[in-house]
Symmetry: C2
Subunit: 205 residues, 2 copies
């Protein structure tokens, strides 16, 4: 018999808490845990299901407990361009739409069956105001993201397709394992054919 008012598997939130503690470097007590958990809600999405579609307003930002997702845009010619990937312990969502309540330019689709913890804009604000650990965590997160995107810009403007691929293999080997090759190509900004040739050329050497 269990005194648990919340109808979700405990493991889901444990993933979030250990992640928060690790990233913020601050221990989170039982009470704070309850508070944090109360601001999130659980959502399960299957492969191919969408968390967000172009034109939607991103009401929630999601923490990925298990699974994989991609965020992409579609240009006038109908080509898809992967802007970000998301895996376990990553956040996924269109920040711009989420913070400014504007229609999103992006789609977010699950690439595997995925468990998400969702938090609304108001929820996130409350969390930052009332939980020092959470506030600190969000700041760290933003710094990390800023550094990573800066690096990606640098890669995009200064490296050849092959160099970019090698760099991705080194930096995010998980991506290569979890996402199909055409999505990797799109993420790198090259055609699937070119990526195929790069991989085969590289193998031979």
């Amino acid at each position: 018999m269990v005194f648990c008012a919340i109808d979700y598997p405990i493991g889901m939130y444990d993933t979030l808490f250990s992640y928060l503690e690790e990233k913020s470097g601050i221990h989170i007590g039982a009470e704070e845990r309850d508070f944090i958990a109360s601001k999130f809600r659980h959502k399960h999405l299957r492969r191919r299901q969408y968390f967000l579609q172009e034109g939607d307003i991103a009401r929630y930002t999601g923490f990925i407990v298990r699974g994989a997702a991609r965020m992409y845009s579609v240009d006038e010619k109908g080509n898809e361009h992967v802007v970000r990937f998301g895996l376990e312990n990553w956040w996924i969502g269109d920040q711009e739409s989420f913070y400014h309540f504007t229609p999103s330019r992006y789609h977010i689709e699950m690439v595997e069956d995925t468990d998400l913890l969702l938090v609304s804009n108001e929820g996130l604000q409350e969390l930052q105001e009332k939980s020092a650990a959470f506030d600190h965590f969000v700041k760290m997160q933003n710094q990390f993201t800023a550094a990573a995107t800066q690096k990606r810009i640098h890669a995009a403007i200064s490296m050849t397709a092959e160099e970019r691929y090698e760099d991705l293999v080194k930096t995010y080997p998980q991506f290569i394992q979890r996402f199909p090759q055409n999505m990797i190509a799109s993420y790198l900004g090259i055609s699937p054919e070119t990526l195929s040739r790069i991989r085969n050329g590289a193998r031979r050497r």
Copy 2:
């Protein structure tokens, strides 16, 4: 007679304050102003002078009161790649080095004579802890930056050189006016020759 312990032209800080008020949407009182000002120090740099060089640790982040700067990296072949530009009311600095105390991979050079307001890592932390306006402002700033860099990544991987140039002209016309063409080319990730051809081709149409 004036009770002013600080030996700087008032105008410098006024630029910062009106910027902070506008961005944070919060009014800043006299006392808070003094506190904020006390955490910054003024620095003037001439055209061609450096704010940061590769290998340095970025002890300060700078707010540009007047002037223009570029942040760039140098690859193994000795080619320069402009990662960011900075103009009035922009912040300039290597965030990664600034927050993690790691040697920077970038150079920051003034493109015009420039007035900067510098703040250290500790100074910034104090400001965020003690000034609600400042804290809110930094958060807004990070969101804005994240959205902008995301957009730039998208541009780099999905658009042709010409489209990227047209996009830049629309989004940041100031850049075209204030930075020489070879730096613009570097920012766009194309050769100066290609940019020259794009411009002349476009003019003809």
